[in-house]
């Protein structure tokens, strides 16, 4: 466990598998990430690489038949003690005191993450009353000020609105209000803007950033949009097939990426200065089905730098370039003469 005071969340070698009738889906298979107080960590990767399962593992809300099989999720509580969330009983009181109080989560679909038959207000007040020693009237007042905080107009009226009476953007604001109800230390945002139109996306991102600046909470932000990453991240973890393949601060990832997958992802974003007709680089192939996890480096069937006999046989270990910049790729192995070979660009 890390012993510095600044690290709020430290996930080590987390494995979360789904034991389905057809076989074991290794949705998360050795993820590492670390998040400092007040910072924003972005987790990026293609669809299906295990971002959501990682997020749910932290809150211990992985749906059956999924289960954490190994690893450590070290979290520093408000009063200073470190606990390992991975060892908690997912139905127990201890984890419930963390949920909504120390760690909150907002989801990809604001349409369906609010109850269709309860008012917005009742759901915010529920979060408040669960964790704070306040009366119903005080909780209601707090709920109004939360709706104000997330810039929902006519807050005291909207408290009695149902989710179907709000637009997508307003629902996501309401979800953020619920998440912030007890001033958590960590906000997990699982693609909170993916289902929204571009303007609303920008507004929600601004809102999250402002709230973070005011409250000093940390944000674990999941996205597959590198544009969003460039805008809000302090640190970045790139995931592929349930693993972190590269992590580092945002400048390093954008300007000095080392992993072939990170490079391919970066080359596949459209740039404002790309000329018309210029072909956009795109990742070849698709993410394999999790049942058919390639041996060796899981990225090897799609990798341009594939080393035959190595990449399909050996599992790459993490290699630290510098403090805070690590890569999992056989191109970089410390005791190998091919190490630190500069990649062709």
């Amino acid at each position: 466990m890390p012993d510095d005071n600044e690290t709020l969340l430290d996930v080590r070698d987390l494995k979360t598998h789904f034991f389905t009738d057809e076989g074991v889906v290794k949705a998360v298979d050795g993820v590492n990430l670390s998040l400092k107080r007040g910072q924003t960590l972005c987790v990026v990767g293609e669809s299906g690489c295990g971002k959501s399962v990682t997020a749910r593992s932290i809150l211990r809300i992985v749906p059956a038949p999924g289960r954490i099989v190994s690893g450590e999720i070290s979290f520093r509580q408000r009063h200073g003690d470190r606990i390992d969330l991975a060892r908690m009983n997912p139905r127990g009181r201890d984890i419930r005191n963390i949920r909504g109080r120390e760690i909150s989560m907002i989801f990809q679909e604001p349409m369906s993450s609010l109850s269709p038959v309860h008012t917005i207000g009742s759901q915010i007040m529920e979060a408040i009353l669960l964790h704070l020693p306040v009366s119903k009237a005080e909780a209601r007042k707090r709920a109004v000020s939360l709706l104000d905080l997330v810039a929902i107009p006519r807050a005291s009226e909207q408290l009695d609105a149902y989710s179907f009476e709000l637009s997508g953007g307003m629902r996501q604001r309401a979800m953020i209000a619920i998440a912030l109800a007890c001033e958590p230390q960590l906000l997990i945002a699982d693609e909170p803007t993916t289902a929204l139109d571009v303007t609303t996306q920008a507004n929600i991102l601004d809102l999250i950033r402002e709230l973070q600046e005011d409250s000093g909470m940390s944000v674990l932000f999941i996205t597959h949009d590198l544009g969003v990453v460039a805008e809000i991240a302090d640190e970045v973890v790139v995931m592929y097939l349930g693993r972190d393949v590269e992590s580092g601060d945002v400048d390093t990832i954008f300007h000095n990426p080392k992993h072939p997958y990170t490079r391919a992802l970066l080359q596949s974003i459209p740039r404002y200065d790309s000329r018309a007709g210029e072909r956009l680089y795109s990742l070849k192939g698709t993410v394999p089905h999790p049942f058919y996890r390639p041996a060796g480096c899981p990225f090897h069937p799609r990798c341009d730098d594939f080393i035959a006999g190595q990449c399909n046989a050996n599992d790459p270990q993490r290699y630290n370039f510098s403090a805070g910049h690590s890569v999992r790729c056989l191109l970089y192995v410390a005791d190998d003469d091919r190490s630190l070979r500069d990649l062709p660009t």
Partner: protein, 325 residues
């Protein structure tokens, strides 16, 4: 909400009108007018003056809409449903107690069905694919497959053989024709369990499946995860969110469960010798006792329509999404 209810009640009027016309058509359906069949069946010749009086009363020589008007206005203004020729008594003497008993049985059956199937359905969904779930599923299918009359015979045998209860009917022999009293009510209640179980078994089995499927749908919804992520305990979570939403379709099913109970109970009622409307309707149709048959059809339809209205209002009250649609 008030406007919603008011609107629904206004819509009720044309529906009731159409239903009453259909019921009247049933009365008119047999060839010839019923007086002819009455006369042909009568053992002694009927006095011509009497026949003329009946002709006059029901307006048989007048156009059909006049006949309809006489019939319906008699019902609405005087509660006069005409006479039953088979029983030689006013229809209204015959039906009210039976209608009341039918209502009592149906309501008790409905309550039984809900009280048994909802908790089992919830259990079965939450414990999906466990032994308990499989046991419930198997028993449920058996319950669906057994015909009611067979169940009736088996339970009657058990009740008679092992509990020494007078089986069949809704009352002990002493109380059949007794006036209403507390003892008679208690006697009724002690006989009620048998028809309620028999009539309710198939519905219970079906409703367990519906509840299980509804709840499974809701359990995987994101708002459940979101509530869990707020720190709500599993039990509170279950009842506050997914169960609450999963119950809505059951409330709307009230609209068809009720008429199914009323009409589906005919055969069981005959087997059990129950004083309900089912056997009476059956017999009146056989005997071409058309005013009795038409009145029963009318009343059961009206009850159904009212049941639909009640279930719609309940649903609108439970589910805020309804009124805006």
């Amino acid at each position: 909400m008030i406007w919603y209810i008011a609107r629904r009640i206004v819509y009720l009027i044309p529906t009731l009108l159409i239903v009453s016309m259909i019921a009247f058509l049933v009365i008119q359906l047999p060839p010839g007018d019923f007086l002819a069949s009455l006369i042909s069946k009568a053992e002694e010749t009927i006095d011509q003056a009497q026949v003329d009086a009946l002709r006059e009363r029901y307006g048989l020589d007048e156009p059909i809409y006049v006949q309809y008007w006489k019939w319906i206005s008699g019902i609405v203004t005087r509660g006069d449903f005409g006479d039953s020729f088979e029983w030689n008594r006013p229809v209204s003497d015959l039906i009210w107690e039976r209608l009341g008993l039918t209502m009592v049985i149906s309501l008790f059956t409905l309550a039984f069905v809900w009280i048994v199937s909802i908790p089992i359905g919830i259990y079965s969904a939450v414990k999906k694919y466990t032994i308990g779930d499989y046991v419930v599923t198997v028993i449920g299918f058996i319950g669906l497959a057994i015909p009611n009359f067979l169940l009736a015979l088996v339970l009657m045998y058990i009740a008679f053989r092992y509990f020494g209860q007078s089986v069949g009917g809704l009352f002990s022999p002493d109380f059949i024709d007794a006036p209403w009293s507390l003892d008679r009510v208690l006697d009724l209640l002690s006989h009620l369990w048998l028809p309620v179980i028999i009539l309710g078994t198939a519905g219970t089995a079906a409703l367990i499946r519906v509840m299980r499927a509804n709840l499974l749908d809701e359990l995987s919804k994101l708002y459940v995860d979101a509530a869990r992520a707020r720190g709500l305990s599993e039990l509170k979570l279950l009842f506050k969110y997914p169960v609450r939403v999963a119950l809505n379709p059951l409330v709307s099913a009230l609209a068809w469960v009720f008429p199914a109970l009323v009409s589906g109970s005919a055969i069981t009622s005959i087997v059990l010798n129950l004083q309900t409307t089912g056997p009476l309707l059956y017999r009146s149709l056989q005997a071409q006792d058309m005013y009795l048959a038409g009145s029963l059809i009318l009343l059961v339809s009206v009850l159904t329509i009212i049941g639909t209205l009640v279930s719609d209002i309940l649903l609108a009250w439970l589910d805020p999404r309804i009124q805006l649609q």
